[in-house]
Amino acid sequence: MALIDNITEQVIKVPLTETTKEGVLKELLQLLTATGKVQDETAALNALLERESRGSTGLENGVAIPHAKTDAVAGVLVAIGIAPQGIDFEAHDGQPSKAFFLILAPSDQSSAHIEALSEIARMTRSAAFLRTLIGSENPKEVVELIRD
C-alpha cells in the first residue's frame, strides 16, 4: 500500500497545539490511536522517545520526521502536524520545526517503512511544497496538497 493511502484528514493536525518535542509526539500519536490502529500507545511513544534520544529527527528547513519501529502497530502509520509558529525540535540546522511527519512501523515491515520515509524525504525536498504545506489552514488542504 502506498503512503498516500494512509494519509487522511483524520491523521492530520493543523495547527498543532503542543509546543514541546514530547508534546508534539504525543499529540500526533493520539491522532493515530484514535484511528484504532495503535494497539499500545505507551509502547509506541516509548519507541519514538527512544529514537529521539539517539539523535533528533528534526531535519532542516522546518521539517521533522520522527519515526520508530514498534510492534504496537500492525502496519505503516503516518500522522502529519503543522506548527506555523515553529517548535524547538532540536533540528540539525538549529531552526524551529514547522512540518512534522510521524511514522510508525512494525519490525517485520522494514521495506514499507523505508519506502514511506523515502517518499516523505523526497516530497519535502521541494521548497514550494513545503511553503504550501506550512501555509495550509486545515487538514483538507494538506490532503489535497499531498494528493496533487
Binding site: 500500500m1 502506498a2 503512503l3 498516500i4 493511502d5 539517539r54 539523535g55 529527527t57 531535519l59 520526521i65 519515526h67 519501529k69 540539525h92 519490525s107 517485520d108 515491515q109 522494514s110 521495506s111 514499507a112 517503512h113 523505508i114 519506502e115 520515509l117 523515502s118 517518499e119 524525504a121 523526497r122 516530497m123 499531498i146 494528493r147 496533487d148
Partner: protein, 161 residues
Amino acid sequence: MKGPIERIMVYIDGSEESLIACEYAVLLARAVSAELLATYVVNTRALNELVKARIFLSEEEAEYSRDMEEDAKRYLDHAVRTGAQKGVTIEPIRTAGSVHQELNRIIEERKVDLLVLGELAHVRSRRDEFYNEAERAMRSVHCSVLIVKDEERVEDLFELD
C-alpha cells in the same frame, strides 16, 4: 507450441498486497504451466537516501539493512511455501538496489513474460508516479504487467482450489 506466458515473476515487498499477488501468481503459473520466480529487492537505494538526508543515523542504517535482509528471507520463504501448497516450484530471488531497476534487470536477464504486482494505491497522485516503487516498476518494465486486485476473491480461489 509455446504459450504466451512461459515465465512469471511476482514482486514481493512484504506487504499484504504482494502476498496476495503471490497466491494469484501461483494459481496462474500452475494453470498455464509457467515457471514462477519471486523477487524481493532490499531497497538499499532508499536506505542510502535516508542516510544522506540525515533522516537515519548510521547505526540505524545498519539496523534497517539487517531488518530488510531478514524480511527478504522471511517473505521469500513464505512465497516458496505458498507455491509448495499448490505443487508449484517458486524460484526465490533476493537482490539489492533500486527496486524498479532491479526488477527491470531480472526481467531482461531471465526473459520474464509477465510481472505480477500487488494492488497499487487507491488514490492516484502525480507524486506516486515518481515515488512509489511498484508504480515505477509497472510503468518502466518491458514485459506485460498484471495487477492483482480483489483480495477476498484471490484468497477464496487459493483456499478452494
